[in-house]
Each structure stands twice: as C-alpha cells, then as structure tokens.
C-alpha cells in the first residue's frame, strides 16, 4: 500500500464554514466602506477622506484571516475536543458579532445618506434605537464570552452543552441581522419611492 506523504499545509487551511464566514465578513466590510465613502462625499466633502477607515477595515479583516489560520493550525493538530470547540466556536461568535456591528454601521450610514435629501427623514429615533440595541447586544456578547470561557475550562458543562450554548448565541445574532437587514431594506425602498417621485416630477 502506498502511503501519501503528510501535507502539513492542509493543517493551516480553515474549515469551509470559517472560509465562508470570512468571505461574508469581507463582503459586508466592503459594503460599509463604500457606503461611508458615498456619505462623506455627499454630506461632508470637506472631510471626505475615507482612507484611514478603509485601512482599518483591511487591518481588521487581515487580522481575522490570520487568527482563522492560526486556529486551523492548532485545532487540526492533536488537541483535545474541548479546546477545539472553544477556539472554533469563539471565532465563529466573533464573526457573528462582527456582522452585527458592520450591518449596524451600514444601516447608520444609509440613514445618514438618505437623510441628506429633501423629504427624507433624518431617522434620529431609528439611529438612537439602533445604537442602543447594538450596544446592548455587544454587552451581551462580552458577558457571554466571559461565561463561555469559564464554563469551557471549569469542565462544568459537557461538550454537547457547550455547543448548545454557542448555538444559542448564534441565534441571538441572527435576530439582530434580521432586524438590521430589514431596516436597510425598508430605508432602500423609501429612497426608491422618493427617486421615482422625483423622476415623475421631472427633476
């Protein structure tokens, strides 16, 4: 029987889930950079540089990729199931929280951008609600991570129970995505209605 040589390079490749998650992280981050650029160009031309924000976004994304590769290397090696679950699920929750923050940022800039046009609401109440909700979610994320860490290494919970707990957090994040994405969709429809009205008025 021919034995294939060990391919250490595969140890560095993250799982399909993580790769997809990173792709969505990149795509949403790029949307945020674009929408912020458009808002600055239209609303604040005197401070219209978006470059430092774009560099920050690139830095966060590349750091996330590096962390994903590092985790893949550790968890593909001979480590216990508890550490593997902890690292993989913590990184996934980090991505989930990142999506909530990025989408929150997109909704904020969509409200700001559409608010520059006549007959478009400034959306102060929505922005206030958005800020409060995202802040509460982020506080929940931090405290969740604290408890998850303590449960993981005190061996108080079994692996299956830890997985259940992590899945629960993902569902809370899912609720946030739905809320924010519908917010962006509704703002988009309102702006579309305004543009159609302007077109019919011949402006």
């Amino acid at each position: 029987m021919i034995e294939l040589p060990a391919m250490p390079i595969f140890q560095w490749i993250p799982s399909f889930n993580i790769l997809m998650g990173l792709m969505w992280f990149f795509a949403e981050g790029l949307c945020l950079v674009y929408i912020r650029w458009a808002y600055l160009r239209l609303g604040l031309p005197e401070v219209s540089s978006n470059r430092s924000f774009a560099y920050l976004a690139i830095l966060v994304f590349l750091s996330s990729v590096a962390i994903a590769i590092f985790i893949a290397h550790i968890t593909n090696g001979p480590v216990g199931g508890r550490l593997t679950l902890y690292l993989n699920s913590t990184f996934w929750r980090f991505l989930c929280t990142g999506w909530v923050l990025i989408e929150g940022g997109v909704l904020f800039y969509v409200i700001e951008l559409t608010g520059l046009f006549p007959a478009q609401k400034k959306g102060r109440l929505v922005k206030c609600l958005l800020f409060t909700t995202v802040l509460i979610f982020f506080a929940f994320y931090l405290s969740f991570e604290y408890y998850f860490w303590s449960f993981s290494f005190q061996e108080r919970l079994k692996l299956l129970q830890l997985a259940n707990l992590s899945r629960f957090f993902i569902k809370v994040s899912g609720f946030m995505w739905i809320l924010i994405e519908w917010g962006v969709a509704i703002k988009g429809l309102q702006f579309l209605k305004y543009l159609r009205f302007e077109r019919e008025a011949g402006r």
Binding site: N17, M20, M23, W24, A27, L30, C31, Y34, W37, A38, R41, L42, G43, L44, P45, S48, L116, F117, P118, S143, F144, Y147, F151, R156, L157, Q161, L162, N164, L165, R167, F168, K171, G174, F175, W177, I178, E181, W182, V184, A185, G188, L189, F191, L192, L195, R196, E198, R199, R203
Partner: protein
C-alpha cells in the same frame, strides 16, 4: 445570567437550533433580496440619467436566489442548511459587490446633481 446560560445549555439542543435557523434563514434571505432589489432599482434610476442601465442578468441572478430560498425550510441538517445558505448569500453578495464596484462613482455623481446642497464634486 450564569444560571440562565446553564439552563440554555441544557434545553437549547440541535433540534431547537435547526428549527429556529430555518425561520431566521428565510427571514434574512428575504430581507437581503428586498434590500438588493431596492439597491439595484435605485442604481438603475440614477445611472439612467447618464445613459446607462443595470443589466438584467443581475436581476435574474437575484431572482434565482429567491427561488432557492424556500428550500431552506426543507433542509434536514445544519450542514445542508449552511451549504444552501452559502450559495444564496454567495450570489447575493457577488451582485452587491459587483454593483458597488462598477456603479458607485456614477451613482454618487448623479446624487450630487440631484441635491445641490449635498457637497460638491
């Protein structure tokens, strides 16, 4: 919160997870479709002022994700759900990113002419 999380770890099993995921997946996929459709229509209205338009294949691709979305309800495992969701999101994000990269400069230019109180070019 500690006791609440301990209770969740006992009761929130894979069945509950998959059930909620299907409903959530449906809700956020439809939200994405509405959001991207509104975005494409806004871009189309704006770039028509410059004599160009959004090509119909972007709408066709978006429509294909609408056809795929109900199948989320019939997935039997979280792996199958994730694969289908990846296909749906993959297409949607490609449309979104392609449109942003291709049309954003033209869109901002037209928006500046629509509202002179906005910045200057």
């Amino acid at each position: 919160m500690r006791e609440f999380l301990l209770w969740i770890s006992r009761v929130f099993d894979i069945t509950a997870y998959l059930g909620i995921t299907k409903i959530q997946g449906l809700l956020w996929s439809v939200a994405d479709i509405v959001m991207i459709l509104a975005f494409l229509l806004v871009v189309d209205i704006l770039i028509r002022k410059q004599g160009s338009r959004v090509s119909c294949w972007r709408y066709i691709l978006l429509f294909s994700t609408l056809l795929m979305t109900p199948f989320l309800l019939f997935t039997r495992s979280s792996k199958a759900f994730f694969l289908l969701e990846s296909a749906i999101f993959g297409i949607q994000y490609l449309i979104l990113l392609y449109t942003l990269i291709k049309n954003s400069r033209a869109v901002v230019k037209v928006l500046l002419t629509l509202n002179p109180s906005c910045g200057h070019d």
